[in-house]
Subunit: 449 residues, 2 copies
């Protein structure tokens, strides 16, 4: 009874898939926040190296992965695909559940797939320093790792509440040599303006982005690095789904349903886009993005132009958004607390090529616990959304008397999130109820374009 | 430039190696603590299932690994062997450094290799519950994982100071369904006797062993499980070295030096014993056990009969020991704070088949930091002893104008030890100096046999 499917290292994908090339409707163009006109490469040049700007707008179907990037990715790739025999038995389903496990990277999630690529292109173009933001710390630690491997300085603006609550994530970044500061800081104009209004601000991802972008825009040797949302970031993650397609062939099965959690959209894109290519070509696959009820970007947001950050420094992008000053409840899935969704993912959802589902925090820890006891791996709270999504899909199939093949992306482990599990086991998991009034307020602040 | 060497799953070793079969001098027999006479299988029967007792005394060269055990081990095995190109470059050595990485198991170390086997044999003989002790938590979490996979209850006596300092390790065990209590407890006679003498006792591994053994001895449905020291535990770990031998063949190199950290001796045995088989057969290999200067069992202990626990419930075994009431400084490498050393490893050291080296705590974090920045993986403090041992061996070779092939065992990751890294980075790492007076005292308490 085989449970693990591993590709040979020589079969690691050599190209990223660019779904932009095949989307029936392309995402709307990003707009300059000042002129409200479509931005060009020159507008992005202060923030990103040219190679990444080219990838951002490319319409080529495939993009070659540089050998130097592959060399580092093979430190932990190809990653395993598992058949969840024990989980299936535990929940009593007749469906088959497979999961791709991305927690084998040193940073513990899928994020290094793009961090390594971004560090590589920046290094190649002579950049000395990268600035970025991080919430729960998955992204910050991944960029810290990549920076240390390419000899780049990394400055991380970490959302203050996480900085204080997650000292070990911070320690991880510091172990890889990054400079981590609690955001908002007094170092940037963005930070100072927030602190003037609220000296006790606990920070947010939107604020931290504002700070990291400002620093990159103002320093010639510094570029900005983003862990999700942007097109090139999503492309870089498709190595996950490309591996999965080959691994599913090894199993002899083919997924009826592909499931991933969605915050900014990168791990979802990673597993889903290569299967979407097959769906566009005629395969019958249901593809589901799972988000928290506390931050229901796809299921309750509006498809509208909005800023990527809180202060309004980034281009306006057309996406599903809860409003750029939306402040979600303090759920443990910090990586899913972003107000927006990647423009590509948003357009695909708008065009009904993918579906969305939102789940309560207590429910996802219930699923994570069943998973951990049976499959051994402790899911990150973010990834637990995909776990529970798969469990619910399997149960629904049982009720309908169907047998489905379900594939989900276990995007990372929860080794740095055990306090969340402790709270769950002690019955003290905080309420993740979304305030409908607050949501209405933040949606009403959407810029009129 | 290849950095990772992975065996095909079909090449996973199917047998454990039993070095007892080939040792020039066998370890001295364990003695009954009451009669001071060699113990027989019947003395061990209350504590262990018969299959493990047979393995404990077996002189067969190889022991078949049951298929059910292999099925679970292949959830994360075979584990990778890496060539540390980046580390070599960072320290400027001409030697080649390889490392075997055992942190890919869900519990994050080599410990599940034996936990799974022990849970399997207990389950097969109808045992319902396992009791054990844990210090830093690596072993407790591994047995919790194995128990959850085989449907066995697991009770963990966790050294109180660790229970309080490491809530996330505890949460990990609880996530796998184990019942974890701070030792000493009032549940056992052993615990009560310690608390009578010192109500504020912070516990020790020796005390926790006393409690776990007592509970197993008094309950028919409960057996005891130990994560190191015993012969069968060491056998189970040889899968590490057996894989390494095949992987080194893939590299085209052969190790001049094999290095591992040593607490009770299990990860050391795991990588070293299969190479010792080749050394006994004529190969020229230097094999080094690295221990902390704070708990220098091999380098400063005596080769003497002693108890495995503090209270004196276990058989007397001939081993290198610092005395069963030795209380080491509170270093972060909790897994290396045991007063004794496995009888097999002790005998091999006594017979000069292996060497030993002790390293200061600050030094091992220096090595761990260089390693993390260059190889990506954050070593567990225990494993960091092997890292620094390898760095020193490489530097020595450079000084001597030699080029060596060095192989070490990176037995686990440090995701649950980041507070130690934080202390190191902030320059606040506590002193790990051993009190010579205390050592002398505890050595003077060795039982006269």
């Amino acid at each position: 009874m085989q449970t693990k499917y591993i590709l040979d290292e020589k079969d690691i994908p050599k190209k990223w898939y660019n779904i932009l090339s095949e989307m029936p409707n392309k995402p709307h163009p990003p707009l300059h926040p000042g002129t409200i006109k479509p931005i060009g490469p020159e507008d992005l040049a202060p923030l990103f190296p040219m190679a990444l700007i080219e990838q951002e707008v490319s319409l080529e179907k495939y993009i070659d992965i540089p050998e130097e990037v592959l060399n580092i990715l093979t430190m932990w790739r190809p990653t395993p695909l598992y058949r969840a025999h024990r989980l299936e038995k535990a929940i009593g389903t007749k469906s088959k559940i497979y999961y791709k496990y991305e927690g084998t990277s040193p940073a513990g999630s899928h994020k290094p797939n793009t961090a390594v690529a971004q560090a590589y292109y920046n290094k190649k173009e002579g950049v000395k320093k990268l600035s970025t933001e991080t919430g729960a710390g998955q992204w910050g630690s991944s960029l810290a790792l990549a920076g240390s491997l390419f000899g780049l300085e990394v400055k991380v603006y970490m959302v203050k509440v996480s900085y204080e609550q997650k000292p070990y994530r911070r320690a991880l970044m510091e172990a890889w040599g990054a400079n981590v500061v609690p955001s908002p800081t007094t170092e940037t104009q963005a930070g100072r303006s927030i602190l003037e209004k609220d000296p006790n601000s606990q920070g947010s991802l939107g604020i931290a982005i504002s700070e990291a972008v400002e620093v990159a825009a103002q320093n010639a040797d510094t570029k900005y690095s983003l862990g999700s949302v942007l097109n090139h970031v999503l492309h870089h993650q498709t190595i996950i789904g490309e591996e999965c397609i080959k691994q599913m062939q090894m199993t002899g099965d083919y997924p009826d349903v592909v499931i991933a959690s969605a915050g900014g959209g990168s791990n979802f894109a990673g597993i889903a886009f290569p299967f979407l290519r097959e769906k566009i070509a005629g395969k019958n696959i249901k593809i589901v993005a799972v988000e928290p009820t506390a931050c229901p970007t796809l299921t309750k947001g509006e498809f509208s132009y909005d800023f990527g950050d809180t202060v309004g420094l980034t281009p306006l992008v057309k996406m599903y958004t809860l409003g750029h000053d939306f402040m979600p409840p303090g759920i443990h899935a910090g990586g899913l607390r972003y107000h927006g969704m990647a423009p590509i993912v948003s357009q695909l959802y708008h065009d009904s090529l993918i579906e969305a589902l939102s789940l309560e925090q207590a429910k996802i820890f219930e699923g994570a616990s069943i998973f951990a006891k049976n499959e051994g791996i402790i899911p990150a709270p973010e990834s637990a959304h995909a776990v529970q999504g798969a469990i619910e899909e399997a149960k629904k199939a049982d009720e309908e008397g169907k047998t489905k093949t379900i594939l989900f992306n276990l995007s990372g482990h929860g080794h740095f999130d055990m306090s969340a599990y402790t709270q769950y086991f002690s019955g003290k998991l905080e309420d993740s109820t979304l305030s409908e009034i607050k949501l209405k307020e933040s949606l009403s602040s959407l810029p009129v374009v």
